[in-house]
Point group: C2
Chain length 352, copies 2
Amino acid sequence: MVTIGDIARAAGVSRSTASYALSGKRSISAEVRQRVAEAARELGYTPNAGARALATSETMVIGLLAQFHEDEFAPAMLQYMLGVSDTARELGYDTLLVTEADGARALRRITSSRMVDGVVLLNVAQDDARLPLLRSAPQPGALVGLPGDCSGVDVFDFDFEAAGRLMVDHMHRLQHRKLILVSQPEHVVQRGGAYVWRLQNAVVEQARARGIELHAVFGESRQPEVGRTLHALLDAHPTATGLLLNNEAAAAALPSVLHARGLETPRDLSVIGRYSDEFARTFSLPFTSIESAPDLLGEMAVRQLVRRIVTPQARGDEPHVLRLLTPELVDRGSTGLPPATPSNTCVQGGIQ
Amino acid sequence: MVTIGDIARAAGVSRSTASYALSGKRSISAEVRQRVAEAARELGYTPNAGARALATSETMVIGLLAQFHEDEFAPAMLQYMLGVSDTARELGYDTLLVTEADGARALRRITSSRMVDGVVLLNVAQDDARLPLLRSAPQPGALVGLPGDCSGVDVFDFDFEAAGRLMVDHMHRLQHRKLILVSQPEHVVQRGGAYVWRLQNAVVEQARARGIELHAVFGESRQPEVGRTLHALLDAHPTATGLLLNNEAAAAALPSVLHARGLETPRDLSVIGRYSDEFARTFSLPFTSIESAPDLLGEMAVRQLVRRIVTPQARGDEPHVLRLLTPELVDRGSTGLPPATPSNTCVQGGIQ
DNA sequence: CTGAAAGCGCTTACAG
DNA sequence: CTGAAAGCGCTTACAG
């Protein structure tokens, strides 16, 4: 391989001069700079990343710890990953993707071996096993997902509480008095997926404050189970006029369920989901929804992480960030006034 | 940070002895090995990856070049990525994920700077701009996707021709005589997505050979456009009795379309898709399909890549591999004999 | 069985 | 403005 020594020889200068000429870190005569640049171009020189990392203690790589659980909706994770990866590249960093099941072990491996300059954790749980390791790691870390203890890390998440209140208030304003909430599977909660109960608790509380009757359940993450759950819910609560979905799989299943029951939104039922616009477009979800902005969250996490990496004083001194994204409603026309005689099962009876 | 020098000092041996004791690359007295291991454990030693890479010329990282195009179905890509990443880890490698639009530039960056020991290219096009660079790179490469020129690389792909023939023959055996094929968007073809026309050509040819009337179209990659296309197709060809889908978005949209038209498989229409089982489960696709096995393809590519990396003689000498995965039909009960009086629009007429 | 030394390819104080 | 040298933290022939 062609090294900086080859460049130096070809340009007739020392290796240090060649290095400085290339990096521009000290003033070099125009002529020498010229010769070095030409030599580098002709020989096709690229600095060896490992050698540079050893000399500078900077790898220009960030670690991306994704976690895929059987009972979570995998395609949603991809959007976070792309937000992270694209932003990292924009800022001059490459991305080491880690998908192994034992995230704590993986985190230890890549941080203690200095493979990365910093780390983004995705899908952070309430009591995430990766966090103690991250805090004691020499590199800074940014989280997507709100853990119970935010100390020592920068945290970015969607404001699920506000989203829950927004859902209820929107329905309340439209005079709905009986709602159903379908959350992610209960397993996700048990594993510490705080976002599930953060939204659910907010919905429960706000419904109580508004005098709204609410039926909250955990839905499955898979078809056709979640479709059956939706059918069962609509059967059990024929007078519910609004459906709130914090469950991508349920949102994807709902169009078929509504078709099968002969229901239309918002005529027979008002629906609000919570997912990304990208998700809505891919699966043609015609429901008003709260944008979860996964790419933006990934981007914000990386920008803050790189700030910490490049500014030494931001390392420990600067207070850590906790940023919750304010939810916004994307109106796709699936909410309206409740029907005069609410019954979301009548049509189904007619068909069968 | 704690280095091998610290370990050596703590164990009272030389750095080389410490290194050998840890790697086991030469015989070390049991007692010294013990002391070194203990020192490493107590001090929490992990070798510096950059230093090791510099010394050994091995990074233990493979590059994963993904490509996301606006008109392709992103969630499908994730499964390839996970197949690659999980297998790499199993074999002791980490994965550098590259998602930037200019894949050729990215490939040059990570190979010429020696950030990776080898590279997996996803979504390879007929005349892929990344291939010339890969051939001249010092690291070996494995492709997922069949290019026009396979020289110098190991290639893994699904046998789309065989899949096309399988689809037609299956329908032919069931006595279907008029079929519709919905492929991926035409843009994908224009960009060199050979898999689209490989399947389509095979379907066209096999249909001709079997005396089957075939209508082949390119579908969109998005909802609701692709749903409208499906409706239009069924309107235009009311006597078609079988539908072949080489388009994930169309497959995801079809259940709603069938519902809307009051059609049932296989009673009114026989359907065969081509996607992964994972995809089918996530979106509850009740269609008989040809398994595209993205995770398996990713896995095979990595295994072969690592073979090339670790066995020097396999570097250039050993002939390159071209492996096309034989398609298999997963019967989900959506195909059967055609209806006596085929008309996939009658019910729609009745409803409207 | 073990140690001293060279070398991987960079960067960057230190001198001039 | 430029060069010689040290050093980053490893591994591995070379000697004993």
